[in-house]
């Protein structure tokens, strides 16, 4: 539930697997829990499986909020 890391998908492999990359460290993981993942996508990886996609726009938005004057994100849309 806790140790999940955002990593970049470097290559798609056979059998619903992918090669992810984190600063030059590469690991094979399973994409069995996600559809439509492409090379260059960022996924959140936990115990060898991609759990979800990381949205770069939302990440940028969060960083803006963090660095800006107001840090209130508001209720879930």
């Amino acid at each position: 539930m806790c140790l999940a890391i955002p990593a970049r998908v470097d290559a798609l492999l056979d059998g619903d697997r992918a090669l992810i990359d984190l600063d030059g460290v590469q690991k094979e993981i399973s994409l069995a829990l996600l559809d439509g993942v492409g090379v260059g996508d960022y996924v959140v990886v936990h115990v060898g499986y991609a759990l979800g996609r990381l949205d770069p726009e939302e990440a940028a938005h969060t960083l803006e909020l963090l660095r800006g004057v107001s840090a209130v994100a508001g209720p879930t849309p």
Partner: protein
């Protein structure tokens, strides 16, 4: 590391700390439960509490699957590992947890049990393929983040007709635990264990979505902010909770918008629902028996259920009487309130899981925060 380092920036932290200090209203109480052990770990590892005003008190919740696993379930894993035909595969986190008689999986391995550490359920599956003449049992623990990988492994084993793979399932459910805390006798007593808001686990929520928390916010009138695990995420979430409390709101807010959505990962939810069903009740260390709080493997996949494949009996084992893990897990006590903490109970000789799991409240406090409260230790 992209999407990691930016959320650890110290300069932004000081600015956020100032915002939190400004937002906190004098005379208002902000007791916030960080449900997940990963948040406890992050708070201590980065020293987040040093940046918070005194009015904000973080209470450590039961979201540590290693901590809440009852001794009796670990004993079942040890019993399986003791069988000469079995290879028991386990995540690293479980290896040092003491079972009955202080025996851990690591100690059992030293005494001859074939126990292998794996990073993933998929590794256990691969081992089963490579060793067709041995029984490979995967010791599955974890909340909803870790459950879908186990489900995939079982489904794959089923599809391949693997005859020597099974799972000892100890997966537990986050919402049930939260409700249990909110409904505990202490919580119902006004003025005792006041929890004013919850920091919810982002990675669990990637799977279950934020909608799973809406009934707490409404039903118990408690604000919930789904928080990422980087320290800036935690601080932003604390600020959001403080502002909700100030406004008298009780909503589910999503701080981890970069990966969490309202519905969550539907595909993962479907795979989990296909393989698992809810147990009517399950014992949680520290919380007691909690209804509808854990998962068991469905009839269709019974061949892969270690509890049906092997003659196993669950025997409830009480904690060391002086061990305060239960109270700590329910947010009623701090590690320093426990008589055993840092004396007979240390990471080298843990009396309970809160100490031996690196994300347990006691281990995190011992590793990272002990030097802060020396006056307390000296007194006791």
């Amino acid at each position: 590391m992209k999407y990691i380092d930016e959320f650890r920036d110290g300069k932004t932290a000081s600015r956020l700390a100032r915002r939190i200090r400004e937002a906190v209203q004098p005379g208002q109480r902000y007791h916030l439960m960080e449900f997940c052990g990963g948040h406890t770990h992050a708070i201590y590892r980065y020293g987040v509490q040093d940046l918070l005003p005194d009015e904000v008190r973080m209470i450590h919740g039961p979201g540590c699957p290693v901590c809440v696993l009852p001794i009796g379930r670990l004993d079942m894993a040890l019993a399986l590992a003791a069988r000469p035909d079995v290879i028991l595969c386990s995540y690293g986190d479980m290896l040092r947890v003491p079972g009955s008689g202080g025996k851990s999986l690591l100690k059992a391995r030293g005494q001859g049990s074939d126990i292998r550490m794996v990073y993933s359920a998929a590794d256990a599956l691969e081992l089963a393929r490579q060793q067709p003449d041995r029984e490979v049992v995967f010791f599955a623990i974890g909340f909803e983040t870790t459950t879908p990988p186990t489900a995939v492994a079982i489904r794959t084993a089923f599809a391949e007709g693997l005859a020597n793979f099974s799972v000892l399932c100890n997966h537990v459910l986050t919402p049930a635990a939260v409700v249990n805390i909110l409904d505990s006798p202490e919580a119902r007593e006004v003025g005792n264990v006041p929890i004013d808001g919850f920091l919810g686990p982002a990675h669990v929520s990637i799977v279950i979505g934020t909608e799973a928390y809406e009934r707490f916010a409404q039903g118990y009138h408690k604000p919930v902010v789904i928080s990422g695990f980087e320290p800036l995420d935690v601080m932003q979430s604390i600020l959001m909770l403080v502002e909700q409390i100030n406004d008298g709101r009780a909503e589910v807010e999503n701080q981890y918008i970069r990966a969490v959505t309202r519905r969550g990962n539907v595909k993962a939810q479907q795979i989990v629902a296909e393989v698992f069903e809810t147990r009517s009740e399950f014992e949680w260390r520290g919380l007691g028996v909690v209804p509808d709080s854990a998962l068991q493997i469905r009839e269709k996949f019974a061949a892969f259920d270690a509890e049906r494949r092997f003659p196993l009996l669950y025997v409830s084992v009480a904690d060391n009487r002086a061990c305060a893990c239960g109270s700590i897990l329910r947010g009623v006590a701090e590690p320093t309130d426990c008589k055993l903490f840092a004396r007979t109970c240390t990471p080298e000789s843990p009396m309970g899981s809160c100490m031996v799991s690196s994300e347990g409240a006691c281990a995190a406090y011992y590793q990272y925060g002990r030097f802060r409260n020396l006056a307390t230790l000296a007194k006791a």
